[in-house]
Symmetry: D2
Subunit: 320 residues, 4 copies
């Protein structure tokens, strides 16, 4: 199966929990410049300045930190049911999510695979920005005239970790049609990381290996910004709030992502701002690029400045 046959169109959204929604919203809206579509009950529905869908990040107050689910949008309305059937045929337990259970979203299905909670949906509202914030430019949603100087533009990818990564990556490739664009092999001979996509992005999802038996977690969700300048604006503005980046600015060798990481102090959700072009993969015959831990120096095998496998072990767990 290839990405051309995949029923998955794109990464849709991430749903996380927080012990303090007001503080999380202070971080996401005021500090970072996310846009709030609506806040209903204990959940805030957020999106980047140029995201079209109702939300690409939902944050629910629940007394704890955690990841609830990761949602992919399908290529057609029918694909939602087709995927559900396929999962069931393969023995997985599928749950239906009624239309409206998540604000702005039609009926969806969820399946737990390798400890991760995946959701698949097609129908979703695409509300226009409120009139006073709306762009006059027809191919933008929110005006950038009064935007925060950080202002994530659109969701890019997510990054998860677990103790069954090889099987997990194989499932994404074989059952869902993701391409493995890049992979990283440690000096013990085992693969440690996979960067997979159904779109031309260098990755829609990355998986890192944790020791066998470790609970799965979400390392970060990434949002795209226009330029490296935006990464510097972000670090500058964090300093005004007495905060610091988790890592960066720097560039990953793998995916060529220019990055800055910063965490919501309430939910501990780590956000990667991804700037610059990275690369786009339009090749139908792409072979996975493999990096080896001990073959290349640190400049190329990991990234310029930053962290190796150790940094990645930590993440927020599933709320279950």
């Amino acid at each position: 199966m290839t990405s051309y046959d995949s029923k998955v169109a794109k990464l849709g959204h991430i749903a996380v929990h927080t012990p303090d929604l007001d503080e999380s919203l202070w971080f996401f809206e005021e500090v970072m410049g996310f846009k709030l579509t609506e806040r209903v009950g204990g959940t805030a529905y957020l999106r980047g300045m140029r995201d079209w869908e109702h939300h690409t990040l939902s944050v629910t107050e629940s007394g704890r930190t955690g990841i609830d689910h990761i949602a992919f949008r399908t290529t057609t309305p029918e694909a939602v049911g087709e995927l559900a059937e396929q999962f069931e045929v393969n023995g997985a337990d599928v749950r239906r999510v009624a239309a409206g259970d998540e604000r702005g979203q039609g009926s969806a299905v969820r399946v737990e695979r390798f400890g991760h909670e995946y959701e698949f949906y097609y129908d979703v509202e695409k509300p226009k920005a409120p009139k006073e914030l709306r762009s006059k430019l027809r191919n933008r949603n929110y005006s950038e005239a009064t935007a925060n100087r950080i202002a994530p533009r659109r969701i890019d990818h997510c990054h998860v970790q677990d103790g069954v990564s090889a099987e997990h990556a194989a499932w994404l490739a074989e059952e869902l049609g993701f391409n493995v664009n890049e992979q990283y092999r440690e000096s013990d001979g085992e693969l440690w990381g996979w960067w997979l996509s159904v779109t031309p992005l260098p990755h829609d999802i990355a998986i890192h290996r944790l020791p066998t038996g470790t609970d799965p977690n979400l390392h970060h969700v990434s949002y795209h910004v226009d330029s490296r300048e935006d990464l510097w604006e972000c670090a500058d503005i964090l300093a005004e709030y007495g905060m610091e980046p988790e890592a960066g600015p720097g560039k990953h060798a793998i995916t060529r992502a220019d990055f800055l990481y910063v965490s919501d102090p309430a939910s501990e959700l780590c956000i990667e701002l991804f700037a610059g072009p990275g690369y786009l993969n339009f090749e139908p015959d792409w072979e996975p690029i493999e990096w080896h831990e001990d073959e290349l120096g640190p400049a190329t095998s990991h990234q310029w400045v930053g962290e190796g496998p150790d940094w990645y072990g930590v993440g927020i767990p599933y709320v279950d």
Copy 2:
């Protein structure tokens, strides 16, 4: 038909003619920083610094200026023959191109539609950069250590014009599965421009309407560069050669492309350097964005600084 069902994976290359190949190569290699894969007979095969295929631009010395063909790569090897059959069923005249007729390329088919010569191929060589120019980074081909400061990175899109644009755009959408991402309606009520893609790029091909009966032409081929800084480097370097941009730097309202245009003085081929993020369209339910000539001011309906429909009439004609 949608882009998910399309047999076309991407824009592959453009083949043009020049009255003076040495002068064209001076422009493309020395001034602009294109990479020469090989020069065989009267043809030079060029690519951007991060293009993987054997060539994304071929330039043939033939005593005249002109466009020879526009080539799309298919999603599978079989799709080449399937498309040929489909074109023939629909009454078009299909010609086979033997493997090797174009250096680095397997067997392909060509069809003339609406005055444009389209080629479809799958098999193509992806030669590594010569060892002394090769990147140590596995997801790059050429090292950028000694690269020219302009150095186009990868082919992005092409832009053609003809007197039968509405039919032409409909054919691309219906028979090949391109999405119409944006379109422009003039005050006479007629559509004047279509921006279409099979990838998430804002356009793989754009079409502008010329008066009925006008011969079709190629307005420009576009290459992506990393940042707006590169557009400024380019204009600066052109000044060192006593040359000027055709237009720009500026930003198009449609596609949100940050641009600079410059022409090869020998072949008159116009190159658009496209920087910045533009936008990527991952939405399966995207509705064409329509711009109206007389509804919005010049700031939004055309572009910041630059040219309206008049500028676009000119282009290089097909060679035969």
Copy 3:
């Protein structure tokens, strides 16, 4: 006399008039991101986000458009009186401005030379940004956390025009110690432009020649922004307000300024946003760089995209 002996430290501020102060403030504060220090009577005192002085631009409602005066700050408190004496010795008419006549400013002197109204002052308040807008960084005044995405940073230079430019430039050099960094000679053999400074900036003031007998005017005042990205943000945001740049983005050959021009719709004051490094002149033996109209092509003699001498004729007149 050289800039090392000059009694002038820097360009201080520009005072202009407007027929509609509310509309001017809408433009300067809301659209552009200037900071309002205070509004007293019919005058608003504005500054860039990183200007330290009380104001670098004052705008007075007076029923008309015009320039009131151009102010330079002296190197010492005593220099104000020394300059006044020197001007009087040389036959000029000097007027005293009492402390507080301009808000935030101590006693100053004014002299009219070549039709331009120049002010010299030393004492000036440097009010800290209001607490809720103040930067936590000790070498910044306003926090950039909530700043507008254009947000001029600091005053850079002004640009005036008159019919006695050669004498005017000579006076600035000989009596005030400005260096002529660059000059431009037209094909008639006459100098048309002078770029002069007492600081290492490529110019603190530029003068363009108008036909003999023409009234002097102010072409623009320039503010510095951090990067070319900011020029693009500016043009983008102007589009949201239905406005367009006057010119640019582009780069001047002379001074190497990356620029975008935009005018206040009420006062017609033209603002040049100047990004990028330009150049700094630290050389004590700098010889004026001379450009010739007919020696070099347009790419180098004027600028990439933009305007020659014609564009510069227009400006706002002195209010008298």
Copy 4:
């Protein structure tokens, strides 16, 4: 004494030693893009792409690593002798350097103060770039058409360390007229760093305190580049050579410098690439900005990502 009265115009050059001049030249010319004015005997005279003087960095092969001297250019030819006389009156030992002893330089004087070897000169050649490398733009020296993608533009400042910093800084301020723009106080109540300048740059020289009795050293010399993009190009290109930055990219809170540090593997000389605007200080009444180690968090007291006082202890020692 203020910078307006200073006899020092600017930082001129740094002279260092290397155990392997060929390797140092590989690094400075090939990797980094410095321009070689000439190589005479065992010394290479280098400059940035936009430096006007004969050299801003000289590298001499001498079997060891070290700093030879730091040179400042005076405001007038006479100032060289006047400074010599002043130093002698104050009891220092002054040595004359004959014209031509350093290539391209007229007669100069040297004085050792606080363990540092300072040189003062005025006469210096400003050779044009070789014709084939010369810019057509009259306010540039070397063309950037074929320049390396890193290519430092001009010398910016130097950074030294010693055990008598407070006295050293006071001498620069009182005897030479440097302004203290910023200073840093550690939690022990002692000042640890001084950033001083005679120009509007945030610093022409910085001094860090080492434990009393420690030998003085040079931490780094800094060159300016145009933009943050250049910092990324640099880190990217270093990766191609299997090298890594010493630190960065990041931004210093003090001076607001966007930085990347990289060392010559042969001489161990550390180069700071300084991008972006930092700030320019045109204020005649500037009061030193004081930062306190324990008052502010790491984001603001040191810098985004990087190193505190420990990192700065190391440097290259004086050669004799």
